[in-house]
Amino acid sequence: MDVLTAARAQMEVSLAFHMFFAALGIGMPLLMVIAEGLWLRTGKQHYRALAKKWAKATAITFAVGAVSGTALAFELGLLWPRFMAFAGGIVGSAFALEGYAFFIEAIFLGLYLYGWERLSPRAHWLTGIPIAVSGMLSGVLVVAANAWMQNPVGFEVVNGQPVNVNPWAPFLSPAWFQMALHSTLSCYIATAFAAAGVYALGLLRGRTDAYHRSALGIALAVGAVTALLQPLSGDLSAKHVAEHQPAKLAAMEAHFETAAGVPLIIGGLPDAENGTVDYALRIPKLLSFMAKGDFDAVVTGLNDIPEDERPNVLITHVAFQVMVGAGFALMALGAWYWLARWKRRADSPLLLKALLLGSPLGFLALQTGWIVTEVGRQPWVIQGVMRTEDAVTPVQGVPVTFWGFSVLYLALGVALVSLLRYLATGGSEPEPSPKTREVVDVA
């Protein structure tokens, strides 16, 4: 394994691992604040039990998110020192602001998690709000750094060094708004549908109490609203990519030849060597319309991109299809649930089973979406400015650290899933009964 491949693989593993917790860190506080707010409003105990349960899940996922995020801050330099030597002083302003947001989140999380008995109920609920807001803001701010890598602005290059740097550069990148919107929504969607799956399973197993029903309702209120908004933000993103990153759009859509009135290719396996897509469904002229707003518009194909500047079509296209498919499935699930609730049939086993099956789809969409963003930008680390191969570290030990970190994250992932399962099966009891304790302990 050469150093570049290993460095890309390590970055991928670290980012993918962190994304789970970053998303939960944005989504869970919102659910928890809603539940506690409902408790304050109605005085019904099961809302408080829910808030407490979700706070525990937040505590575990936030801690892992914080340490894996620290790892990423280091890895930016460890794996891509030449990128950081060049861009650290530009994307740094986004990270500096994100630092404050993250700080606020960590401080108020401490207050919230350990303050149930020390703060008045109202004050306690209020400490939850900065967690939800700053969690969302730190995501939005850190995405500015990535947006700048997709669409770099606000500097000039003289003798290979950035000069005339505008400190607002990451926030001036025109990609920022739609990327931040798209990724924030995806975090809420992923969290909400994952949580919904847990309570759908509980309801299927006959725990048809207010606790499970309310949990499902809160999760799917957040999930349905965000899932319905997501295609709009996706459309904005696609139009932006079409204008600024034609190579990425062509790879996403497996669009090989520049032409007018281009069909939208759904599914299929692209063959980059022959420029064909097998097993795909084609809708005439739709890609032209979606990318440019005109059914007869010309869309740049990969043939007009220099051969050494083309991203991997197979990965980008398939990941994009999976993301869009998962997104639409979740939209349908969210709509189905609220329709069923409106008709007072939300307990239908078919719906609950569908929600259970659909619960990982939000995370699938989140992960594949980032694969589209990052693989679709290759071979550039900063689009049009610096190639990934020119950013990589000269240190030869990267394959070792790649395998080391992969094993570490795998082990932590396994431990975490078993811990969250233990939490999830604890039901609405504040503490598990001694009997379950013993069973779990022996197992």
């Binding site: 801050a73 740094g92 993250f102 008995e117």
Partner: protein, 343 residues
């Protein structure tokens, strides 16, 4: 004052905050690993209670230092990342395992028989303790590595001269010194936050750790003279020497205060001691970020970016400081709960 110097100063202050706050959390883990005697379980309980609400906020200081370093001094950050590739990865391993193990243990199933941590919890507890011991040693080694002149940087390329910079005798000594300081800080804080026999346990541990700190500083001094003469001279010059002298006085005061059980004074003096030590180190190291090729001036980002980051500080701190004050007042203050205060 030039913006790059101001930013370097802010980064040093953030590093000091990290040492004083998060250092004690690592130290808590050390005492968890070495919990002994009849009150072993209570000691661990007290440590977990003291750390629980604050350790994540304390950890953010490190992220803050890193962000200031790479936004203000990107070339220095890149050079450090190449030169310290292995120890930084090990530090990350330690940080990840420490944080994850701490929460995993806290939320693991309890054992019904002993009403203490279950089997999984005990395993994560062991990981937590081990990672808490190893990480400060590595961080201290990294600090030693930038001072000894083994990392040469020319035209953006990094070259290591002689021994790996983080494995020199000086780096090892500083690593152990950092560990002892963390253990000392934690024991002094814990003695303040506990009562009765538990308090005595931590007071005795503080005295032991303080003795080790003194012994190790006696070991570090000749190594500094031999391996990092520029730092040695820097420490003795008129700017750094008074700060260090204050640090030594604070160290003596904290030891005395522990002996006569004036614990609040001991806490204050211990914090002053660590602040002076790091401040003195920073002043002595000036103007180098990595001796001898990378300085605050030649590694700095463009003026506009430095000014931007500096200008965010008053706004950021206006949000942070009241929040931190609230956090520490609620969990480290004297009051017990909102019910007791009649809120």
């Amino acid at each position: 004052m030039s913006p790059e110097l101001m930013l370097a100063g802010v980064a040093l202050l953030a590093l000091i905050a990290y040492a004083v706050l998060a250092g004690a959390d690592f130290g808590g883990g050390v005492w968890d690993a070495f919990a002994r005697g009849p009150r072993r379980a209570q000691q661990r309980e007290a440590i977990a209670q003291a750390m629980g609400p604050v350790w994540e906020a304390n950890h953010v200081w490190l992220i803050f230092v890193i962000v200031l370093l790479f936004s203000g001094f990107p070339r220095a950050y890149a050079a450090l990342s190449v030169a310290l590739f292995a120890p930084f990865h090990l530090v990350l391993l330690g940080i990840i395992l420490r944080g994850a193990a701490f929460v995993f243990r806290a939320y693991s199933p309890q054992s019904a028989r002993t009403l203490g941590p279950g089997r999984m919890g005990r395993r994560w507890g062991a990981v937590f303790g081990a990672a808490s011991v190893i990480t400060p040693v590595l961080l201290g080694m990294c600090l030693g590595a930038v001072s000894a002149g083994h990392v040469r940087v020319a035209e953006g390329a990094v070259r290591i001269e002689g021994t790996a910079p983080w494995l020199t005798p000086l780096a090892w000594a500083l690593g152990l010194f950092a560990l002892a300081v963390c253990a000392y800080l934690a024991a002094v804080y814990l003695a303040n936050e506990t009562q009765g026999e538990l308090r005595e346990d931590f007071r005795r541990r503080a005295l032991a750790a303080g003795t080790v700190v003194v012994a190790l500083s006696v070991l570090v001094l000749p190594l500094l003279y031999l391996e990092a003469p520029h730092l040695w001279e820097g420490l003795l010059n008129v700017r750094a020497a008074p700060v260090l002298a204050l640090g030594v006085l604070a160290a003596l005061l904290s030891g005395w205060a522990l002996l006569v059980r004036r614990l609040r004074l001991a806490r204050l003096a211990t914090v002053a001691q660590v602040v002076c030590l790091l401040l003195g180190w920073g002043v002595a190291q000036y103007p180098y970020l990595i001796y001898p090729d990378v300085t605050i001036q030649n590694a700095a980002a463009t003026d506009a970016v430095l000014r931007f980051v500096l200008w965010t500080l008053p706004f950021g701190l206006a949000l942070l400081l009241p929040s931190l004050w609230l956090l520490f007042r609620v969990f480290k203050g004297e009051h017990l709960g909102w019910r007791d205060e009649g809120v």
